[in-house]
Amino acid sequence: MIATILFALLLVIGFGFFGWNVMKVRSNIKLGRDIDRTDNKGERWKTMLLVAFGQQKMFTRPIPALLHLAIYAAFVITQIELIEIIIDGLMGNHRTFHSSLGGFYTFMISFIEVLSVAALIATIIFLSRRNLLKLPRFNMSEMNGWPKMDGNMILFMELVLVLCIFTMNGADEAAHVQLTGESYGFAISSLIGPAFFEGMSLESLHTLERIGWWGHILMVFAFLNYLPYSKHFHIVLAFPNTYYSNLDKKGKFSNMESVTKEVKLMMDPTADPFAAPPEGEVAEPQRFGAKDVTDLTWKNLLDSYTCTECGRCTSSCPANITGKLLSPRKIMMDTRDRLVEVGDNKRKHGADYDDGKSLLGDYITEEELWACTSCNACVQECPVNIDPLSIIVDLRRYLVMEESKVPSELTGMLTNIENNGAPWQFSPSDRLNWANED
């Protein structure tokens, strides 16, 4: 009885706190500017199915893709067992579905056990890639401190989860054999049971089974509530993030409507620059480009929460490869860190609070922005369709259009375009000279 009450309490607190944090993340994301991604629903579902559910883009690097798939599959399938655990916990039952599902139950639990072994192996390999092999993309400067710890914590929690499952099932198997003389017949625990738990008293087996059971469910809720604070939130956000992917050609940069209006005014000789805006049209003063996270679109912000810091973007970035300061992954991490800060500030001090800091300058430097070649390698590489390039471009736009901070050679290029219609200083009247030269 006490166990049931404790369990119900855990359930309410576990889901409640997670829900509260999800709402916080949602309100942070909604601080972004609006962008329409409601079109083309069929294409969007397809993208989500292939890229998030099917992990299509992971498979450009097959070995990590297979290991990742093992953990992903184990995670998804284990949710079925979680249903039983929750029902058992609330009803005070033991293996609620065992008698009613019969052979299918044995198959499902066996399947979960096999996947859990695969996940265990993958987790150990992932831990050694991070800590022993020291893969370069996990050991760049932006990974120092919390991000590195975050990555290891997630893997460690996964280890605990799997070990709890096998403690639970192994001890249960040994007890079951003692009581009934029969095995459950689960693929892995029918081996673990005799190997590790044979000869123990029923009482200690029962205690061990309970430790495994409670350890598992406690870990599940700890993990769930860790997600909103961690890069691991990608397991949830990968789905909406790929659904809201940019479906245009990657080369197309967004059109700035606010600029279009002004340019049309400048080019229309009959336009009255002092005319009042037409009825119904609210003139919102918006800055050109982005200085802070609230100037970015909500998709940029969703991108930042979805990033799991795998570093594929950075490892394919030509600027980063050649030693420049730019790292697309850092752009995403900075955006998220700053967004959390801005969101917390607004909740603590009111919506208009200004802490005097901004994404540009305090987090991302001009040198990083000007190293980008806009080659789209980072966008191409991202397994969950994050677009670091559009953030870089929006920050550049702010620098150039609001602060006139342009590298001096580019000032020359821009002046040339304005004066003589070419980025170099050639006379427009010489444009066709090539046709008559040898």
Partner: protein, 262 residues
């Protein structure tokens, strides 16, 4: 053979309208190396009797480098002016040898009111060969030569055109060899995003050197490109390794023009 390069203005004066506008671009018009690519393409167009015209002195920068640099004002001013000119001549179809112009005209002009069918010159040449309008000479200059293709970012990743240039290279007698980082994984030459017009930020290597090094590992006779900026960057890269005697950097249009004996 002198080139036949009609302008839109001349065509209009004669009451004619071309099938396609050749957008030459600033590199193709002013850069000495890129002008050769322009001429190679015109030779192909002339040979195939394509009814084309150029804007000549009425052409203006598309605004691409301004947009990539973050100056949307300059970009949109350029775009609006160009759209006025293009629409004035009722242009429907455009070919260009510059992936940056290609991307901007194709993807970024429609929202400003400029709607045209835009193709890259490798796509047009492929079409001409497939239609039988252009034939390559047998046993041409490229027999037994190793050719590798460097994907321009604004043609490949930005617009998903990977096959047209490769199919053209495969029509030569040479052998197409791929770099490790090719197609969707292609490494940038370093010139995109307005980098062409500035010094690189501080680092430990130039991007074009990194890329050329990768190409040279294949020991190619030709590094082929489809972009005047890539051409400049790869040519500089080859010079950096003092390999200009052994390795040529050529546009696909130049390869085809040579193979067709034009």
């Amino acid at each position: 053979m002198s080139l036949n390069v009609p302008t839109m203005a001349e065509m209009m004066a004669k009451g004619e309208s071309p099938d396609i506008l050749f957008w030459v671009g600033c590199s193709g018009s002013f850069d000495d190396r890129a002008k050769k690519i322009t001429k190679a393409l015109v030779k192909i167009l002339n040979e195939c009797k394509v009814q084309f015209a150029v804007l000549g002195t009425e052409e203006n920068c598309t605004g691409d480098p301004a947009k990539r640099a973050g100056n949307e004002f300059t970009f949109q001013m350029q775009a609006m002016m160009n759209i006025q000119v293009l629409d004035g001549y009722e242009v429907k179809k455009i070919v260009t040898a510059c992936p940056h112009c290609f991307n901007t005209l194709k993807n970024e002009y429609p929202e400003l009111g400029g709607n045209y069918e835009v193709i890259h010159h490798t796509q047009l040449i492929q079409e001409l060969i497939n239609q039988g309008k252009l034939t390559l000479k047998d046993g041409g200059t490229f027999k037994g030569k190793k050719i590798t293709f460097h994907d321009p970012c604004y043609l490949g990743r930005a617009n998903d055109v990977y096959e047209a240039p490769r199919e053209l290279i495969q029509k030569l007698d040479g052998e197409l060899v791929e770099m490790k980082r090719c197609k969707t994984n292609g490494l940038c030459c370093g010139a995109g995003g307005a980098q062409m017009f500035k010094e690189a930020e501080k680092g430990n290597k130039e991007i074009n050197v990194e890329r050329t090094e990768e190409a040279l590992e294949l020991d190619p006779d030709v590094i082929a490109t489809g972009c005047p900026f890539c051409n400049t960057m790869m040519t500089d890269g080859v010079k950096n390794f003092e390999k200009e005697g052994e390795v040529e950097v050529l546009d696909v249009a130049e390869l085809i023009a040579t193979a067709a004996d034009l």
